[in-house]
Symmetry: D2
Subunit: 330 residues, 4 copies
Amino acid sequence: MKIAFIGFGAQARENLIPACSTLFGVEIAAICDSDPVKCMEAAALFNFDQSRIFNDHREMMDNCKPDAVIVACYPTEHYRIACDAIERGIPVFVEKPVASTSQQVIHLAELAERKGVVTGTGMNFRFAEVTERIKQIAGDNVQMISLRQMANKPVGTLWDYDSVLRSFLHAQTIHGLDLLIHLCGPVKRLSVANNSHGEKIMFSALMEFAGGAHGTLITSNMSPHFTFDLDVLAQDKLHIKSTSLNTISVAEVDKTYIQGENKRWCDIWAASPLSSGYSRAGYAGELLDFISAIQSGDRDSQTAISTLIETYRCMDAIEKQCCQLLAVNY
Amino acid sequence: MKIAFIGFGAQARENLIPACSTLFGVEIAAICDSDPVKCMEAAALFNFDQSRIFNDHREMMDNCKPDAVIVACYPTEHYRIACDAIERGIPVFVEKPVASTSQQVIHLAELAERKGVVTGTGMNFRFAEVTERIKQIAGDNVQMISLRQMANKPVGTLWDYDSVLRSFLHAQTIHGLDLLIHLCGPVKRLSVANNSHGEKIMFSALMEFAGGAHGTLITSNMSPHFTFDLDVLAQDKLHIKSTSLNTISVAEVDKTYIQGENKRWCDIWAASPLSSGYSRAGYAGELLDFISAIQSGDRDSQTAISTLIETYRCMDAIEKQCCQLLAVNY
Amino acid sequence: MKIAFIGFGAQARENLIPACSTLFGVEIAAICDSDPVKCMEAAALFNFDQSRIFNDHREMMDNCKPDAVIVACYPTEHYRIACDAIERGIPVFVEKPVASTSQQVIHLAELAERKGVVTGTGMNFRFAEVTERIKQIAGDNVQMISLRQMANKPVGTLWDYDSVLRSFLHAQTIHGLDLLIHLCGPVKRLSVANNSHGEKIMFSALMEFAGGAHGTLITSNMSPHFTFDLDVLAQDKLHIKSTSLNTISVAEVDKTYIQGENKRWCDIWAASPLSSGYSRAGYAGELLDFISAIQSGDRDSQTAISTLIETYRCMDAIEKQCCQLLAVNY
Amino acid sequence: MKIAFIGFGAQARENLIPACSTLFGVEIAAICDSDPVKCMEAAALFNFDQSRIFNDHREMMDNCKPDAVIVACYPTEHYRIACDAIERGIPVFVEKPVASTSQQVIHLAELAERKGVVTGTGMNFRFAEVTERIKQIAGDNVQMISLRQMANKPVGTLWDYDSVLRSFLHAQTIHGLDLLIHLCGPVKRLSVANNSHGEKIMFSALMEFAGGAHGTLITSNMSPHFTFDLDVLAQDKLHIKSTSLNTISVAEVDKTYIQGENKRWCDIWAASPLSSGYSRAGYAGELLDFISAIQSGDRDSQTAISTLIETYRCMDAIEKQCCQLLAVNY
């Protein structure tokens, strides 16, 4: 399978291309970037001649006829490039944020559906090893969930956005929010408490899911480090905790351990000291699923653009509530 | 100082009396319990003759003239006993729950104020070693806080209560909620998401504090183990985490470590392997403060009954919202 | 049971007396200290009149006729006081170090045996909650064990000792070494690597036990904090780890977990956030066992002085090897 | 730079090739395996035509003229292939174990020296992120070190070896032992306690380093999981711990923390939740250093075969002592 990369920035270099290069049967056919310097770097790195390096993504698509494209640029460009790919019938995997508005996401999903094109999105947390285990353990019966997702950026506006809050939502919150929706389904009601000020973002969202569960998303750009800690109750008996995408503990009501003890014991999983590559954080999984969907010929990927509509709807709701709260407070 | 204990149940035996016996200058003058069997046990344990063992708390107060009483019975009795002590001018420390309604708590606070009697309450989490450190580190500038407090009880009604939810609120939630108010001040707005069913309690409360901070309290009686995990942002630069009343980590924006590194480093405190006694979980601190307040003669204790009014008000609000939500859902 | 305390220093005040005061049926009958200031403090603290406060331990024993004495002074005094108690037929519990030489320990053990007097020693680590669990889990089949026990003291000579190394051995190493012998039995061969210099102690001992297991004791006075980390292989299939007397993990070959997984899962136990008192670190257990042995009338305590002979023999061997190594190196 | 891989097994596929593919300027020029099935898989995976797939490594070297070869086969083949590469002047990176005997390692080192050829070896633990930090923090002043390295394999003989112990030494112990030597230098004295039986390996080695430090290596093939835990004292004031190649804690004597506290505080580093790729466990670092050494033209790599001589000497010593001990015990 010939894959072309559009956008040769940090995310492509550090995660997507290396993750791709570990997959069997995948060939990196071309690299495209609107920045000539990055094109030169790509050519040097991959020892590619000029026939495989492009400035313009449409030219690349038309000349190279890739079996799929992987896009990691700016959100405004994502929308345009995804349209161009879908209209050409080329399966397209788009990094987050897929687009800068909900309307664009909805439009892309409709277009992909109409054209019957497989799409995928950079929702790697859905494929993180801990997520997959939590899904297996909790089944479809998550009852209460909370996620503390702290970050140290963005502390200014990103891309062509004019709001730090929206930059934060589309760069960071999208992951945690999407994961909660991935585990619990669509959201029925959402309330936000917010005391962001200036470029310092801090809010907590209380979410009631249509399926009956409820959850909290607690997030900020003011921690020095990225942290990602989940706490889940499921099946009327399981208390599941996961820290740093690296450990899971499962405490089960009435489960007995050595010598029949059950107080203060639980099961714990931790990644291997030698754990390497792109599986643990989900980069390998999201790409593998996208490629498998293309190869299967009869299904969309699990991260299809359409699966992001609910996440964007909730980001809009959070943004709106945050702004109203700020308006009230001033 | 002569102290009398009223109620000789598990909390008195396991925590309050042993904690008291480690304090200098404190003498256990008498023990009172309405259950004759427990009275006999107390007499045997302390080698007390009948002059120091009582069935009736008023008789004990009048005969023994203790310098203070410590009460650990049922909440309805707490109210009556506290009234009796305050009216006699005897300082009184009451275990949680201090009373079964907000009205009673307000009345006790007013009575104590009018009579000028020192009161204290079993809010040990305020004096836990981690709490005291978090207060020092965050100062008065907590900005966002979340507490995950899970428990495995009560799973039925307690005392003479007729609601599992209220039993849970007054037995468990009171601690976490009180701690949040202790750290962040009074609450301006409170929203609850609840999917408790039957005797299984699960709710999350989103709280906006009058001082500007906001927080979340995530709690249930469905975990096999008691857990208590805090996450705090403070002073526009500190991310503080505390687990199991046993560890604290502090990550500070831009703080540098060995070799000038700052990514992924933080400060961490952990209790000593040999940590023993009643300080870590706050039992020693709450009693010591109560006794010091009596000895000082010019201040109330830091856990005076009046300091619990806001906590009860919020428990009422949570209970009301939970019931409304359930009503809507059915 | 009337118990008298001899020595009213930090260990008595902070651990032994409070731990004792939590035991049913125990009365603190008298306190003895050669320092008049400490006697006055004891009198004030316990509201004891002069008939229960003593300067001389023999006078106290003869006047008070205690059912048992608990001794926490200096090691040289320990020997003399223990002799005096045993000769009077009074059960005696002696803090570590029981004596300053192996010869004294052997003599005390013989004397106690001859007189049929119950003795106990402050080997609290044997009764720590984690130790008791490890014994249950590993049974009599520990195969390989290693203990990292770091401390920040002593950094000078203690008591009337003239060697920092011996001070360290008798104040710190005694605990770890004794625990290894408690779990694995007597030692067949012992090799030491040592690069202590001046008052900085650092050595590792490789121990082969007569029962077949082997172990390592890695220790120093140069860490800022006390740490105590065990790693045990047992029963050809269990890997047990314990940190800070606070957690235990058990990984078992071929044990399966949720969804049939077995890679990277294990069982873990952690002390409760509210864990209080003197059980976790073993102070309550060692005293309770001593008292139970007295009450039973037909057995010695599990920490009888005789059980320390092997530990002292190994401390002597370590000291001798350390000194030879230093002699060789200079 | 054109790199050819010899041996297309699990280590090449899972770690070496993906790690290589993340390095700038590196082209995978050819793949060689003596197994025709693996050759076909390699051809399919990389979309290589027959000109880049080889059965015979000498033919590949002579036809392809690679700038370097990376070898991951069996130890006996490693020796032969490394000889062939070095004699042709081709830089060669050899996975562990480099050879099946010390004599072969010494011979390869001499040959490489004589021919002036850069060599490298798969000692990834030297380049693990935690190792590099420990080296920076401890400087050249490690004083006491202990490593607990547990594994679940091999439980039978590997390659063409006829001893489980030697298989274990060359497959597992080599890493931990090499790391200790990497951090502390050559070994002056080594004592082993061993109670391996049948295919169950368990031994502890006490090591005195020529530079003055000492250490312990505690290892077995009987844990269900691979574990790697280091404990280091350095510079008369630092206590460094590292677990699972994923965290480092540093406790420093007299270092003060927030509010001037120093008891029970330390610094801690933990890998990011999103940490991906081949740097953390050292695979990227070892390859990058090998390639840099080739490119520099004036230095050997930091994992040159000559740097393994001391490690092999110590493995021989351990093997000899283990066998003698077993002989004595029977």
